[in-house]
């Protein structure tokens, strides 16, 4: 901007808005016509002035803050979708591998194919003389894999089942507790989402351990 532009520069704002009184318009126009800098400046200001027309001024004072918690909701939606995606990927993988070892369903169980840590639950004693034992339930395409730590149980035969919301029991298999039995791996056809609890009974049907999964 040259020194000669100075008296005209700030007139360009009102000129762009069409607010300059006629007598002033003439002199400002005369300068602008002969000055490329001011012509360019005026063009830019007129562009901004044109943009003003798009806005409803009543709306300017209206606060438009998004609802509180929207950001958190978005993050949890993303988290959910990521989990679903991971599960789908794992199912595909597990499905493929399980098909390969279909000869023995149990083989698939014991392989512990995917590294799904599963759901951990503590089986609480339902009578005296027992200690709580940890169990792990893992979602599988064919149902639920059940892993429990049998070392602490008195010797004998035990039956394991998953409880459905209507109290029906879906068997997960049986095992003999022996000294140092270690981890026992069993399988139930009930999907993990369909189970509300997991129980261990003695051969006569008395429940001796029970773990609550959900209400």
């Amino acid at each position: 901007m040259s020194e000669g532009c100075r008296p005209f520069r700030e007139q360009l704002g009102p000129l762009a808005l069409g607010h300059l009184p006629d007598p002033e318009v003439a002199s400002v126009r005369a300068h602008v016509d002969g000055c490329a800098d001011c012509r360019e400046e005026l063009r830019a200001l007129e562009e901004a002035a044109g943009a003003l027309a798009l806005v409803d001024p009543e709306l300017l004072d209206e606060p438009l803050a998004p609802p509180r918690g929207l950001g958190d909701r978005i993050v949890s939606l993303v988290r959910e979708e990521r989990l679903l995606e991971q599960r789908r990927r794992r199912r595909r993988l597990t499905g493929l591998l399980a098909a390969a070892v279909l000869a023995g369903a149990l083989a698939a169980v014991t392989l512990g194919i995917a590294h799904d840590p599963g759901v951990r639950v503590l089986l609480e004693p339902q009578r005296g003389g027992l200690e709580a034992i940890p169990a792990r339930l893992v979602e599988r395409p064919w149902g639920t894999e059940v892993r429990l730590e049998a070392s602490g149980l008195p010797a004998g035969r035990y039956v394991v089942w998953l409880r459905e919301p209507d109290d029906d029991r879906v068997p997960a298999g049986s095992f003999d507790a022996v000294a140092d039995a270690g981890e026992v791996v069993l399988a139930s056809a009930l999907a993990i989402d369909g189970a509300v609890g997991i129980g261990v009974s003695e051969a006569d049907g008395t429940t001796v351990l029970y773990g609550h999964l959900r209400d």
Binding site: E10, G13, A49, A51, D56, L60, P67, L70, I74
Partner: protein
């Protein structure tokens, strides 16, 4: 925010929402006229951004521009869906917003947002002399400044507006 921050992770989504969530929400409210639907639009925008985060290229467009482009699509989809089934039977069925309507709303929203970004003094005189069509002398008296100052604020206000629009990537 760091423009190269990955949208793939939760921190990236959180940062993008902190930076642009409010603006996107404002645009969605203006174009859909319904806060509930606008909320849905913003959620969907970030979900789509997350799903397609590998397509975001900061060399091509800023994160803001990219998110607005997604949001524009989402708003057009939602407006069509709403027009297809008005929620309340006896309510006046909203006119089907065309993509052109949404584009107009988007530009208007950007200008509104740009007006919020310029200084309070500048915004004030533009509102008084342009939208309220008040005489410069009256505005000057009210603000306790010479008329020349009002004129100069109009000039600098328009310049600042122009700059803000440029920064937002709004075509002149």
């Amino acid at each position: 925010m760091d423009p190269t921050a990955t949208l793939r992770g939760e921190p990236g989504i959180r940062a993008a929402y902190a930076a642009y969530g409010a603006e996107l929400y404002g645009f969605a409210v203006r174009s859909l006229g319904d806060p509930g639907l606008a909320e849905e639009a913003v959620q969907e925008t970030f979900l789509r951004a997350w799903r397609h985060s590998e397509r975001f290229d900061p060399e091509v467009a800023s994160l803001r521009t990219w998110l607005f482009a997604i949001c524009r699509h989402v708003v057009v989809d939602l407006a069509r869906r709403r027009a297809a089934r008005p929620l309340v039977a006896d309510a006046v069925a909203p006119e089907a917003a065309s993509a052109d309507d949404v584009d107009r709303a988007l530009t208007a929203w950007q200008v509104e947002e740009a007006l919020r970004r310029i200084g309070e003094d500048h915004r004030r005189v533009l509102i008084e002399v342009y939208y309220r069509a008040r005489p410069y002398a009256e505005v000057a008296a009210e603000l306790g400044v010479p008329v020349g100052t009002v004129k100069s604020r109009v000039y600098y206000g328009l310049r600042a507006l122009r700059l803000a629009l440029e920064e937002m990537g709004v075509e002149g």
